[in-house]
Symmetry: C2
Subunit: 363 residues, 2 copies
Amino acid sequence: MRVLTRPILEINLDNLLDNYRMLADLAKPAVPAAVVKDDAYGLGAEIVAESLYQKAGCRTFFVAHALEGQKFAGETPEAQIYVLQGIGEDSLPYFRKIPQLLPVICCPEMLGFWQKCGIADRQPAIQIETGLNRLGFREDELAAMSPAERQSFGLVMSHLACGDEKDHFMNAHQIENFERLKQTYFPSLKASLSASDGVFLGDAFHQDMVRLGAAMYGINTAPYRQNQMKNVVTVKAPVLQIARLPKGDFVGYSATYRASSDRRIAIVSIGYGDGLPRSLSNVGKVMFDCGGKLYEARIIGRVSMDNTICDVTNVPDLKVGDMAYLTADFYTPDDVARDAGTIAYELISRLGKNTRFDRRYIG
Amino acid sequence: MRVLTRPILEINLDNLLDNYRMLADLAKPAVPAAVVKDDAYGLGAEIVAESLYQKAGCRTFFVAHALEGQKFAGETPEAQIYVLQGIGEDSLPYFRKIPQLLPVICCPEMLGFWQKCGIADRQPAIQIETGLNRLGFREDELAAMSPAERQSFGLVMSHLACGDEKDHFMNAHQIENFERLKQTYFPSLKASLSASDGVFLGDAFHQDMVRLGAAMYGINTAPYRQNQMKNVVTVKAPVLQIARLPKGDFVGYSATYRASSDRRIAIVSIGYGDGLPRSLSNVGKVMFDCGGKLYEARIIGRVSMDNTICDVTNVPDLKVGDMAYLTADFYTPDDVARDAGTIAYELISRLGKNTRFDRRYIG
C-alpha cells in the first residue's frame, strides 16, 4: 500500500506521431498540417509542435491565436504557422515580431486592418464560407474584392460542418460550394477544406492541404466506424480512502445518491477542478486494473472540485494508493465524453489545462 | 470600429476582498480562513492569497494539494496553509520544505504515513465523516485511535453536504454528528465545519473557524435568497465577424441550428477551448452593452473550440470589435452556470485555467 494524493496525466507522443503519419499517408499527396491550437488541445503545444517538426517533418501548423504560435515558433524555425482567429490590434505585435505567423483573414473588416498593417513580407490565408456559417467571407464579399486583393493570399480555406457523418448532405453541399468559389475567385490558389474528419471522406476533400487535429490526438472523427487512431491521453488518480457506505446513507453534495444496500466506496483524488466533467456525476465510471483484469466502478454522487466517489463493492483487493483510470486506451476520451454528454475535443482540451496533474510524456 | 481577436478575463479583487470581509463579519467570532484551492478557483492563487493576507489580514488558507500551497507560501509568511487532500509520498517533499503546510488527515492509512514521516514540528487537522460520505474518519476509526493520537491534531473538521439548502434535513443531521463526535473524541480541539454556505446557516455552524471559498468569489451559496455577494469574474470577447444568415441556412457543427427566417449573426472569439461550456450550445446567451443599454443575443448552433455564434438580429448598431459579455454583474457566473446545466464553481474554475485570455486584475 502506498499513500498518494496527486492525479497523473500521461501523453503518449509516440502514438500521436503514429496518428499523424497515418493521417498524412491517407491524405497523400495533400500536404499535412498539424492543428496545435488551444495548447495542442491542452496537451502542450510546444512539445507537440516540436515533436511533429523534428520527428515527422511537419512544416505547417495551425493555431487559433497568434500568442499560441509565438510560444513554439522558435522550435519550428522553417515552419509556417497559420493563425485561425486572424489578426487584430491586440495580436499585431506578435505578427510583427514573428515572420512565420500568417493570419487567416475571415472578413472585409479584418482584410482592411491587415492591409493597413504594412506587413508586406507574407501571404495570409483567406477563409471562405461554404455552409458552416462561422468565420469566412460570404460570396458577395468575395465578389466585391479587387483582383489584386484576391491575389494577395497564399491559401484559400474553408471548414466542414458535418465531416464526421459520412453521408451527411452538408458534405456534398460544402464541397460543391468550395469548388465553385475557388474556381470563380481563386482559380490558381492552393486550397484547404478538411480537418481530420474530412481526411476519411475521400480524395475530393483532401485538396492541397489537410489540417490534422482531433484524430491526431486519438479522437475518433469518423464515429460511423471503429476508431483507427491510437489513444494519446491517459488520466489516472490515486484512491485516497476506502470506506463502508451503510445502507440508507447519502453520498456527496446535495445528497444525490442514496445507498439501497451496504456498499464499499473509494474516494479518488480528482475532480472537476482537474477538468473531470461534473456531468459525470452519478453516470460516469472509473476503471481499476487489478492484476491485469479491468473492473468498472460507477461514479456515485456529485463529482466535486477535488474528489470523485465511486462504488468499489465489486472491485477485489483494492487498496489506498491504487490508481483509478479516468481515461485510457480501454476507456477512451471518446467513451468518457459520451458518458459526460459532450465530445472528446472538449474533454481533453479541458483536462490538459490543469496544473495539478503530474504530467508525463511518453516518447 | 476596432479589429480585435482576444477574449478578456477581468478579476475584481476589490469585490473579492469585500466579500471576504462581509463573510468574516457574519461568522464572528469564528476565525475566517480563505479557500484558495484549484488556483483560487482559477482566479490566481498567488495574487488572491497575497491580497487577502496583505489587505484583509487573512492568516489561514486552505488548498487541495501541497503544490498549490507552496506557490504562495512565500507571500504569506505568517499564515498556516491546510492541505485538504492531505499528505502522501508524492507530496511529502513540499511538506518537508515548507513548515506552513499542514495536512488534513482523512483516514487511518494516511495517519500512519504521517506518523512515519518524522515531521514533528506541526499539528495536522483531522477530517471526520458526518454525512457527506467523502473524505474523513468514520466513527469506528476514531474509536480505534489512541488518546495520544487524538491529541496530535490541531483542528477537527468536517464538511456539509447540503449547506446551500437552508432547511435540508442533512444540515441538522451533520451538526448533530459533528458535535457528538467532537465531544466524544476531541473535546478540547478547535473545530471547523462550514464553508461559505454554512456561514449563512447561523452561529451553531460557525464553530471556531469558517472556510470561505465560493461566496468570496461571488457565487451565491445561499440560492434560496438573492445573492448578497459582489461579482468577481467578468469575461468578454470581441466580435470577429458579423454576417447575414439566410432563411433555411444551418449554423455550426452537426448543423444543429437552422434559421427559420433571415437573421443576422455575430461570431464571437471565445469557445470551449477558453472554458466556455459547450453545453451552452443553442441554449446560452451573450450580452451586449450598446451605449449603456443591455441586449441579449442567443447562442445558436454548437459552441466550438475557439468561436461562439450568436443571433444579433435585434442588437442595434453592432460592429466588428464590439465586446460580447459571457459573464458579468448583469449575467453572473451563477446565471451562466444555470444555463449550462452546471454550477458556478465549475464554470469559474474552468474559465480561469485558460492562458489565451488577456487577464486583468482590478484593485
